[in-house]
């Protein structure tokens, strides 16, 4: 199961909120508890002190001058309070009316409150079960009765030293408990409601907050592979998401480039292979149309072989070109002696050039050298030479110039017999130079050689340009020059 961002956010929000609300509720309840219980005990203690004030030490005995009518709480038949007074010797000096045998419909002996522990001088509180079974709370007061200075007769007598008496006053806690229970319920209800509201609000907030993500997902989903350049729109995206969209756009652009190159390759290959394929097919079909002499078959087969070779070159070049355009070339710089390289690369063309009366003129220093990737340099020079031989007019000339300048190597290959206009020359580096404009060369050779040169020079970190200058019809058309500038030392 995939983890949902939404449920995680919700879980964390609700969990955190629940903890906070619980702490808050417990705090509020504790405060309320303390206040209510404190008030209850205060009033209990006050009643006890009032009762205690009525206990007098008289010379002979301890007198309780207490009129129960003043405190109806201890007399009422319904839910009464209780008190009991014990003398120093443990004898019960006084009971509240509610403890008397006849109270509350009870019969039998008088009830007693349990004699709870107390501390002299301080009120001590205890929970207890009241004689009628209700839960209650009691205060224990341990005190010395007041000494009555004057007796009824007005004579001053020396009273005995007062002995501590114990007074316990108990009262039911049902009201207090009910109040506390009400507060508990209130807090629980408030906490629950708060959590519920939090859930609703958090769900809304999370949904609202995640909406840009959904928008982004929808925009990403709208990207079609046929059109990777139509980027994911990032306008209106929050600052946190916009970089995601931009990164994705970068990625899509790169993918689109790669895909475009692949498509261009397949389209170019398909297109450029059609013509030689038509050539092979027609040649064979014509040859097979009727019985022929052996040498006619031989010519047809030789034609087919030529075409097959051209197609192979075309496919090889296309692959190299595509690889170079994709930047998949690793450079291995080494020192290359340009003169030797030229010598070696001219050799395959020498026979054809001689047969067609083409003169090669070389003007470059004998020690000219550069540091470059040999394979790429070979590709540049061999293609330039092949191109020059192919398009030079019979009896024309090819000039190769080379020189070192500062930290660059300049190389130019020129041939006579160019029939291109200045406007057309601009297209010579285009792959397959096609479209509606006319093209030079036969179907198979067109374009690729110089495209390869351009890509290879770029890979070597250099620049290439082509120009044509009118040379006059006597010399067989214009002079076509390709100039290559390379860094003398590859970084």
């Amino acid at each position: 199961m995939r983890r949902s961002l939404r449920s995680r956010l919700l879980a964390w929000t609700i969990g955190g909120m629940a903890l906070l609300v619980a702490l808050f509720a417990v705090g509020v309840y504790a405060a309320a508890h303390r206040a209510l219980v404190g008030g209850f005990e205060e009033s209990l203690a006050a009643t006890a002190r009032a009762l205690a004030a009525s206990v007098k030490q008289e010379p002979k005995k301890i007198e309780v001058e207490f009129d129960e009518r003043e405190m109806p709480e201890f007399r009422r038949p319904d839910r009464p309070g209780y008190f009991q007074l014990w003398g120093p010797d443990g004898a019960v000096l006084k009971r509240s009316a509610s403890l008397a045998p006849s109270t509350g419909g009870r019969t039998g002996p008088a009830a007693d409150l349990p004699r709870l522990e107390g501390t002299s001088g301080a009120a001590v509180f205890h929970d207890l079960a009241l004689p009628d079974g209700r839960p209650g709370r009691a205060v224990v007061l341990l005190f010395l009765p007041q000494v009555e200075e004057d007796d009824e007769d007005g004579h001053r007598k020396a009273p005995p030293a007062p002995q501590p008496v114990t007074l316990i006053v108990a009262r039911e806690t049902a009201g207090l408990d009910a109040e506390l229970a009400a507060i508990r319920w209130l807090m629980a209800g408030a906490a629950g409601a708060t959590l519920l509201l939090t859930l609703v609000v958090a769900a809304l907030v999370v949904r609202q907050g995640l909406r840009p993500l959904e928008t982004l997902a929808a925009r990403i989903a709208a990207v079609r592979e046929e059109n990777l350049d139509a980027a994911i729109p990032v306008e209106g995206m929050p600052r946190e998401l916009a970089p995601v969209g931009e990164r994705l756009n970068d990625l899509l652009r790169r993918l689109g480039d790669v895909l475009g190159r692949e498509r261009a390759f397949t389209a170019d290959a398909a297109h450029e292979l059609r013509t030689p394929l038509a050539g092979i097919r027609s040649t064979i079909e014509v040859a097979l149309a009727r019985p022929r002499k052996p040498d006619e078959y031989g010519r047809a087969l030789a034609d087919c072989l030529d075409i097959a070779r051209q197609m192979q070159t075309l496919v090889d070049n296309l692959l190299v070109l595509t690889r170079m355009e994709g930047g998949q070339v690793a450079l291995r710089p080494e020192v290359v002696r340009v003169g030797e390289l030229l010598e070696a690369l001219w050799r395959p063309h020498a026979a054809e050039a001689q047969a067609r009366g083409i003169v090669l003129e070389r003007r470059l220093p004998a020690d000219l050298q550069c540091t470059a990737d040999r394979d790429l340099l070979v590709m540049v020079v061999s293609n330039l030479l092949a191109n020059a031989v192919e398009y030079a007019n019979d009896g024309g000339r090819i000039e190769v110039l080379g020189q070192a300048a500062d930290d660059t190597l300049e190389l130019s290959v020129a041939n006579t017999g160019c029939t291109l206009s200045a406007a057309e020359v601009r297209h010579v580096f285009d792959r397959f130079w096609r479209g509606d404009s006319a093209r030079t060369g036969t179907g198979v050779h067109c374009g690729l050689g110089l495209s390869l040169v351009e890509r290879a020079v770029q890979a070597l970190g250099g620049a290439v340009s082509a120009t044509v200058s009118p040379y006059g019809p006597v010399l067989g058309g214009g002079r076509f020059v390709v100039r290559v500038t390379l860094p003398a030392a590859l970084p």
């Binding site: 040649t283 509606d436 093209r439």
Partner: protein, 224 residues
């Protein structure tokens, strides 16, 4: 029937030209746009087989120029471009047919034959004059029930006359439609071939089919 092939890929040009020649057409071929335009403007071709991407002048420009000059030649475009837009564009510029490379030679020949017939408003591949019957597809000829064996040149002459049956066809017309540009023969050779043809198709006791119109040329027909 005379055909011009403008195709810059030499092996294909050679094969197509050879195939057309062996099918009885008189074929001129060039690989250069400029030259193709020059050929097409100076001669009365029945069909032009035209590649689109050519050095010098491209095929569509040639087509536009020919149409603006009012040349009636039927144009068959031969190209590696195969999108619908390319085809529509070529046809809209006045091409009559479109064939995408690579193609079957059979199909090219059939399309060229069809265009050649259309050049003479003949839709029926079987031509007839009196009891003379010409199957243009198989290039076979019958007089009555007897098949007449003709050389390719004789057949081409007869087919051309039959296409224009009832009209007076000049020697020059015949020569231009039957002989290639580089041919060394001159228009006198037409008279020689008319002689050969008469010997093969005319039958004693049957009405003559090939008539000489003095000073103007020849005409093929059951009635003079």
């Amino acid at each position: 029937m005379r055909v011009l092939v403008v195709e810059d890929y030499l092996p294909l040009q050679r094969a197509v030209a050879k195939g057309l020649r062996e099918a009885g057409f008189a074929v001129d071929a060039t690989g250069d746009g400029e030259e193709g335009l020059w050929y097409a403007s100076g001669n009365d071709y029945d069909v032009i087989v035209l590649d689109l991407m050519l050095p010098g002048v491209d095929g569509l420009t040639i087509l536009k120029r020919l149409r603006s000059e009012g040349r009636p030649a039927h144009v068959l475009i031969l190209t590696a471009k195969d999108t619908v837009a390319d085809r529509v564009r070529g046809l809209d510029l006045g091409a009559d047919d479109y064939l995408v490379k690579p193609f079957a030679l059979e199909e090219l020949l059939a399309r060229v034959r069809a265009l050649a017939r259309r050049a003479y408003r003949a839709k029926n591949p079987t031509l007839a004059a009196g009891d003379l019957r010409i199957e243009t597809t198989a290039q076979r000829v019958w007089r009555g029930r007897t098949e007449v064996r003709l050389t390719p040149r004789e057949y081409a002459l007869l087919e051309y006359l039959a296409m224009r049956a009832g009209q007076v066809v000049s020697r020059t017309d015949i020569w231009e439609h039957l002989y290639e540009f580089n041919s060394e023969a001159d228009s006198n050779v037409v008279d020689v071939y008319i002689g050969y043809l008469r010997r093969k198709i005319e039958r004693p006791g049957k009405p003559a089919l090939i008539h000489t119109v003095r000073g103007r040329g020849y005409s093929l027909g059951a009635e003079s």
